[in-house]
């Protein structure tokens, strides 16, 4: 099937032999979305990226259930506790048996620095399990639950699959909660810049002339300012006494303030080139008014490109938020994002003592990579009629 897809896109495609008639006609009546899907499906890295992206967003959706505990729980007696590996099988007299557990900690004193450090004690066993009852939470803020995907069977003894930070907070739980914030801030920022970009780019591209000229100058201007200093300035402008949620929205607005320029350029470019397309003129000559021409003919022609550009701009947003929060200018606890978590690793001393604090960076890396591959594939598939 995949082989015939592209074949029939060639301009000289004609009535086929009887054997191929069925496949042929399914391609003949395929809409642009079907053609795009067929094209996208062949792009392996993009498919993989898409799947990973979906998984990450699924995690973001079910954080309360997936996280072993809440991200804010401070346990001063577990400062910088190292990660505990989850063992699935336990050695017993009758052989290996399914019974998840982790090894406990013992405290060692570093004789030189006179520092207390935790090390894994192979002797101790802490029982762990899947679908365990633990700390109660409100699922999506709607109903009470206490079921956790994975965790310690004894609520009194915490387990740190990915270690603890300097205040004994569980890194894994924080990271899972951070997924929701980091992934959604990108999405929200992108939707806001999408709105601005479509509006201003559309006006610019469709009407042209003075308006276009003005908007173009503004875009050029915004793009010539280095983003991080600008973002830093704007982020520092957010009052420190704002509640976390308002800060969160403040940051999305700041991120989209610059993000829209890129999209506006794409939209404008599309409008400009479409305006001169013959089929758009044909629609006008059919008697279609401006609104119909735009919505029925022009927008569908670049909508897929816009979706691709949107996908490709989410990673930028995620990276920007991470950088700002890392610097202490973005989000602050109790809101956790990957950037907020990475702030714990800001100086070499903490990194040296607790290298696992860098793990949220890995989450950023995976998410951004997946989105980039996904977006790249979308962009390639966005124009199925490319001759």
């Amino acid at each position: 099937m995949a082989v015939t897809d592209v074949k029939t896109l060639s301009p000289e495609a004609v009535a086929p032999g009887a054997a191929e008639a069925e496949i042929e006609s399914s391609v003949s009546v395929a809409s642009q979305w079907q053609l795009m899907w067929w094209k996208f499906r062949k792009h392996r890295m993009a498919m993989a990226g898409g799947i990973v992206t979906l998984i990450i967003y699924a995690i973001a959706l079910f954080v309360e259930f997936l996280a072993p505990s809440s991200p804010g729980v401070i346990r001063a007696d577990y400062t910088w506790a190292p990660p505990q590996r989850l063992h699935f099988f336990r050695q017993t007299d009758e052989g290996m048996r399914w019974d998840p557990y982790v090894n406990g900690y013992k405290v060692e004193i570093d004789p030189e620095a006179l520092k207390r450090t935790f090390v894994i004690d192979e002797e101790q066993v802490v029982d762990a399990g899947f679908f365990v009852k633990g700390e109660p939470y409100e699922m999506w803020g709607l109903w009470e639950m206490d079921l956790h995907f994975v965790g310690s069977t004894d609520p009194e003894v915490p387990i740190y699959f990915l270690g603890a930070d300097r205040m004994g907070r569980d890194l894994l739980s924080s990271m899972i909660y951070g997924t929701r914030v980091s992934m959604s801030i990108g999405l929200l920022g992108v939707f806001m810049s999408f709105f601005l970009g479509i509006m201003l780019g559309g006006v610019s591209g469709f009407y042209g002339g003075t308006v276009d000229n003005l908007i173009q100058r503004i875009i050029e201007f915004i793009r010539s300012i280095p983003t991080i200093p600008l973002w830093m300035g704007l982020a520092a402008a957010l009052p420190t006494d704002w509640p976390p949620l308002r800060i969160y929205f403040g940051i999305t607005i700041i991120l989209s303030f610059i993000g829209w320029t890129g999209l506006a350029r794409v939209v404008r470019g599309r409008f400009l080139s479409l305006r001169t397309e013959d089929f758009v003129m044909a629609a006008r000559l059919d008697g279609a008014n401006e609104v119909t021409t735009i919505w029925r003919h022009m927008v569908p022609s670049f909508f897929s490109h816009i979706i691709a550009s949107l996908t490709l701009s989410i990673p930028g947003m995620i990276l920007a938020e991470t950088s700002l929060s890392f610097l202490g200018l973005g989000l602050r606890r109790p809101v956790v994002s990957w950037g907020v978590l990475l702030q714990e690793a800001q100086n070499i001393r903490s990194v040296a003592t607790a290298p696992w604090l860098l793990i949220p960076g890995l989450a950023v890396l995976v998410a951004v990579l997946a989105l980039n591959f996904f977006g790249d594939g979308l962009r390639d598939a966005a124009d199925p009629y490319n001759r």
Partner: protein
């Protein structure tokens, strides 16, 4: 056709067009279209490309008028102005309404244009760009019907089916998208779209230029057949003189935004009055190797003038082999040289120019 021959005398320039015969469908008067050239930071207009500069001609009911010239002569722009795809810089486009009244399309707003958009339709050059690739054929051909609320629902489907059958496509293909068709078939879809609203005037802009030789004849024949069947009037824009000769009753020759000659096809090809027309005819390669030796080809010097910066006087004078002093100073008017035969050349009467004889040789 003979009726139009006698009518030719009424076909005139702006000077003496007081009378309009009943069978004048389209009367273009002093049509002008200038495109601004802008430059600099503030996009100031620094000049104009005079794509169409003051042209007048008429199209009679039921005839095919050819608009011919080289690229950049303004023939496509003129066609699009008549369709009101562009706003005019100046002039009138008088179109005979159903009740016989002449209506000027030039000042109409988009809304006021709507009833006329049904009567004046267009066939595009490029069969690939002119069909929205994201729409199935039924929408492409049916949209004009839907927008103008002619028919809807099942009836619309039937109408599209019969239109497709008319242009030689299988009606069952109406759910297909353009990508499933070849160039020739797409051009048929474009023709079906143009015919959907029972138009009276069809502007065909290089309708066969992008097609392969073997398909071109099919489409030319189709265009001719449809004219008979639906009593259509064509304005046929093309650079290909042999196609023009085949399909047109009357020909308007343009050079750098101006009309240089208008005549019945047969007369124009047999006895041109403008040196540019002569050169054009002479440049067309003759598909018979035996005529090669007899032909004294006129090869024009230089290139087509720049419409943003045309030469003085007659725009053709720098390339004309009969050029006189007068030509660079005075702009020649389009005037009647013989009945129904107009040319814009100071020396049209004095010159004896070569045309094409019926055997295909140059006389």
């Amino acid at each position: 056709m003979s009726a139009q021959l006698t009518n030719g005398s009424q076909h005139t320039t702006s000077k003496n067009n007081s009378a309009t015969a009943d069978n004048v469908l389209l009367d273009v008067r002093n049509l002008q279209k200038w495109f601004p050239i802008s430059a600099g930071f503030f996009r100031r207009t620094v000049g104009h490309v005079k794509a169409v500069d003051d042209i007048s001609f008429q199209v009679l009911q039921g005839e095919t008028v050819g608009l011919v010239g080289e690229s950049g002569c303004g023939k496509t722009t003129a066609g699009r102005c008549i369709l009101r795809a562009y706003d005019l810089t100046g002039g009138q486009i008088l179109f005979q309404d159903h009740d016989g009244e002449m209506v000027d399309l030039a000042p109409l707003t988009n809304n006021e244009m709507k009833p006329f958009r049904q009567q004046v339709r267009m066939i595009f050059q490029d069969p690939f760009n002119s069909l929205n690739p994201r729409m199935p054929v039924i929408d492409i051909v049916g949209d004009p019907l839907r927008i103008n609320k002619v028919v809807a629902g099942k009836e619309l489907e039937d109408r599209v089916a019969s239109l497709l059958a008319k242009v030689g496509l299988r009606p069952e293909y109406m759910r297909r998208y353009p990508h499933a068709f070849s160039g020739g078939e797409r051009q048929r879809i474009g023709i079906a779209r143009a015919l959907a609203l029972d138009p009276r005037l069809v502007v065909a802009d290089e309708a066969v230029s992008a097609l392969d030789v073997s398909v071109r004849a099919q489409i030319l024949n189709l265009i001719k057949d449809l004219q008979e069947e639906f009593d259509l009037t064509y304005l046929f824009v093309s650079h290909d003189l042999s196609v023009i000769e085949y399909i047109c009753d009357r020909v308007v020759v343009m050079y750098v935004g101006k009309i240089v000659e208008v005549a019945e096809t047969e007369e124009l090809f047999a006895q041109p009055f403008h040196p540019y027309t002569e050169a054009l005819l002479s440049a067309v390669p003759n598909p018979d190797p035996r005529n090669r030796q007899q032909k004294a080809r006129i090869v024009l010097e230089g290139d087509v003038a720049d419409p943003a910066n045309p030469p003085s006087g007659c725009y053709f004078h720098p390339r004309c082999r009969y050029v006189q002093d007068q030509c660079s100073q005075e702009t020649p008017e389009l005037r009647q040289i013989a009945p129904g035969h107009f040319a814009a050349c100071h020396f049209a009467e004095e010159l004896t120019l070569a045309g094409v004889t019926a055997s295909g040789e140059l006389g």
